[in-house]
């Protein structure tokens, strides 16, 4: 069982290499936590001074994530000057008189819209005609992180596995051990499969840890099946692994391997669905593996889709892995024909 021996050796090497182990297991959690804190607090609280307004107006403001505080005219002006509030409003006879601090356009705009809507709600709305909103996918006040989270899990696994497997195979080539290996009766495909199996087993652990951390510690919105998430991340790791090995054959040293990050990894992030892109450009994403990973993860985590709905994505991811493995086996021909 040469494949097993090779897989076991890779696990052994990882076990001895604490740094890489930490990079693969702890660094993703660290990154995810950072992004979580950056994106979690989505709505900053904006204060508005309410001088004159119908009853219930503040409650309506609150609905729009704006906090209204009652002031008299003089105090309101002072609060505005101090920056305690961003605007003051006085509604007299259905007409709003607003003074606003426009130095932060985003907040000012949010405040204006909210104040206008709150007024309409209080003065003119009939409760029985209030729109009924059902969230088909996602939920009310879905933090940005939840939206990103699914894609992020895929990306992080892809990135780390790509890098570590690529460099590992590169070292095999550069240290002469690949040559030594090729002086043994091992077959070319056994080398490739051994690598996939060795790193694959390790990425089971990594995928589990990352997915578990996101779902149960960061509490990313997740209504699908955890087993499916594991399946997707595993296939993603396999794809990253085979692509990493493939790319490493184009690199002569570790530095050149790092150079593939802006070429191979970064563009995939742009097209993975994190950004809204013009339709014409969006199609480029269809040739990027990460697009399918992100799509499958989003389907399961936010839409609760089952296996049938992500089968297409998984099929493409798997097909790419098999393609890359075949290419790797063929490329090893450069070293030995048989």
């Amino acid at each position: 069982m040469r494949v097993r021996a090779l897989a076991f050796r890779i696990l052994n090497q990882l076990r001895h290499d604490r740094r890489t182990l930490a990079l693969m297991l702890v660094a993703p959690l660290f990154l995810l936590t950072l992004v979580y804190f950056i994106l979690a607090d989505t709505v900053p609280i904006v204060y508005v001074a309410v001088i004159n307004a119908p009853a219930g107006y503040e409650d309506q403001l609150e609905e729009q994530n704006i906090r209204g505080i009652r002031y008299d005219e003089h105090e309101a002006r002072l609060a505005l000057e101090r920056g305690d509030v961003i605007a003051s409003i006085s509604i007299i006879g259905g007409k709003s008189y607003i003074e606003i601090d426009g130095s932060n356009p985003t907040k000012a705009k949010a405040a204006l819209v909210a104040m206008e809507q709150a007024k309409n709600s209080v003065l003119f709305s009939r409760p029985d005609l209030k729109s009924e909103v059902n969230y088909v996918y996602g939920q009310e006040d879905l933090p940005t992180f939840d939206n990103f989270g699914a894609t992020l899990i895929g990306f992080i696994i892809f990135f780390f596995v790509f890098l570590v497997s690529g460099i590992s195979f590169l070292q095999e080539r550069n240290s002469g051990t690949l040559e030594k290996l090729l002086s043994t009766p091992i077959r070319r495909w056994e080398i490739v499969v051994g690598y996939v199996l060795g790193f694959g087993l390790f990425t089971v652990l990594q995928s589990f840890l990352i997915s578990w951390y996101c779902v149960y510690v960061l509490k990313v919105m997740m209504i699908g099946s955890f087993a499916l998430i594991l399946l997707i991340t595993l296939l993603s790791a396999m794809l990253a692994l085979t692509l990493g090995i493939l790319m490493s054959t184009l690199a002569n040293n570790e530095f050149q391997m790092i150079q593939f990050i802006p070429l191979v990894i970064v563009p995939q992030v742009f097209f993975s669905g994190l950004f809204d892109l013009p339709a014409g450009i969006e199609v480029v994403g269809y040739v990027m593996p990460l697009y399918y990973i992100a799509d499958a993860l989003t389907e399961v985590m936010i839409r609760g889709s089952g296996l049938a709905l992500i089968a297409w994505d998984l099929g493409i991811i798997f097909a790419c892995s098999v393609l890359f493995m075949t290419l790797n086996t063929l490329l090893l021909k450069k070293y030995r024909r048989v």
């Binding site: 040469r2 090779l6 050796r9 002469g176 043994t184 030995r336 048989v338």
Partner: protein
């Protein structure tokens, strides 16, 4: 121009060998090798009888390592063939029968010596008990028994060289291809290693050794001298010395090496 001569020293052969060259462990026939436009091996012919230690001597860059890799099945000749145990290389079934030691130490630095040996043993299809027994034997031989569980990256250069040798002979191959095996190994241990090589040869193992160290060349049963991709002389060290009237192989080397490249 001096014609190299081969002493058809009767070799006791061991094991079964098919094909035409049944007296020889290694045969090289009309091998040419090009790297792009560069002609690095020019019409090499070699016959190494079973149970002989055959030295390949030459300055660095003369094509020794390329020659050795073709015999070990890692490279292929552009034209011509290398035969091991009567069969053409490269061939997977033959790979098990060759022990190859590269010029650079092909070791996994983060693994311990025992793990390195265990890995290659498993690749060679040895079972656990066999690997354990042979590991103890070969590590004793290269005097590394006490460092079995040290990670290889903590080894000195000489220790790595010895471990590489241990790995090459781990699976008891009938043919050994050793590329500069004793570089960086101290004289006493080098003597032990040569004693072991003689012992293996006496058991019928065919051994090809490259070297540019003169006193090692003299220890080989037969020698071939290489220069600029060509074999310029073959024979025992005495024959090579006698033919040109010098007293040491070093002088012979200088004599042949100093001649004009005829290509």
């Amino acid at each position: 121009m001096f014609k190299g001569l081969i002493s058809p020293e009767k070799a006791h052969h061991n094991g079964s060998s098919s094909g035409v060259d049944s007296n020889y462990g290694i045969v090289v026939r009309n091998v040419h090798k090009y790297f792009g436009a560069k002609h690095v091996l020019k019409d090499i012919n070699l016959e190494i009888p079973f149970g002989q230690i055959y030295g390949l001597l030459g300055p660095s860059g003369c094509g020794k390592t390329t020659m050795v890799k073709i015999i070990a099945g890692i490279l292929e000749a552009t034209s011509g063939k290398a035969y091991v145990l009567g069969e053409a290389m490269p061939q997977l079934s033959l790979m098990n029968k060759v022990g190859y030691m590269a010029q650079s130490d092909a070791l996994y630095g983060s693994l311990t010596a025992a793990e390195n040996l265990q890995f290659f043993g498993a690749i060679y299809g040895m079972n656990k008990a066999e690997i354990k027994r042979r590991t103890a034997e070969v590590m004793e031989l290269v005097n590394l028994s006490d460092d079995l569980d040290k990670p290889v990256q903590a080894y000195s250069g000489g220790m790595k060289r010895r471990l590489s040798l241990a790995m090459a002979i781990l699976h008891n191959p009938p043919v050994l291809v050793l590329d500069e095996p004793t570089v960086g190994i101290d004289p006493l241990l080098r003597k032990n290693i040569w004693a072991e090589l003689y012992k293996l040869a006496a058991q019928g193992v065919t051994i090809l050794v490259t070297t540019h160290v003169m006193d090692e060349a003299e220890k080989c049963h037969q020698l071939a001298m290489m220069r600029a991709g060509r074999l310029i002389a073959k024979g025992t060290s005495q024959e090579l010395q006698k033919n040109i009237g010098v007293r040491s192989i070093e002088e012979a080397f200088l004599y042949y090496g100093g001649q004009q490249d005829e290509s």
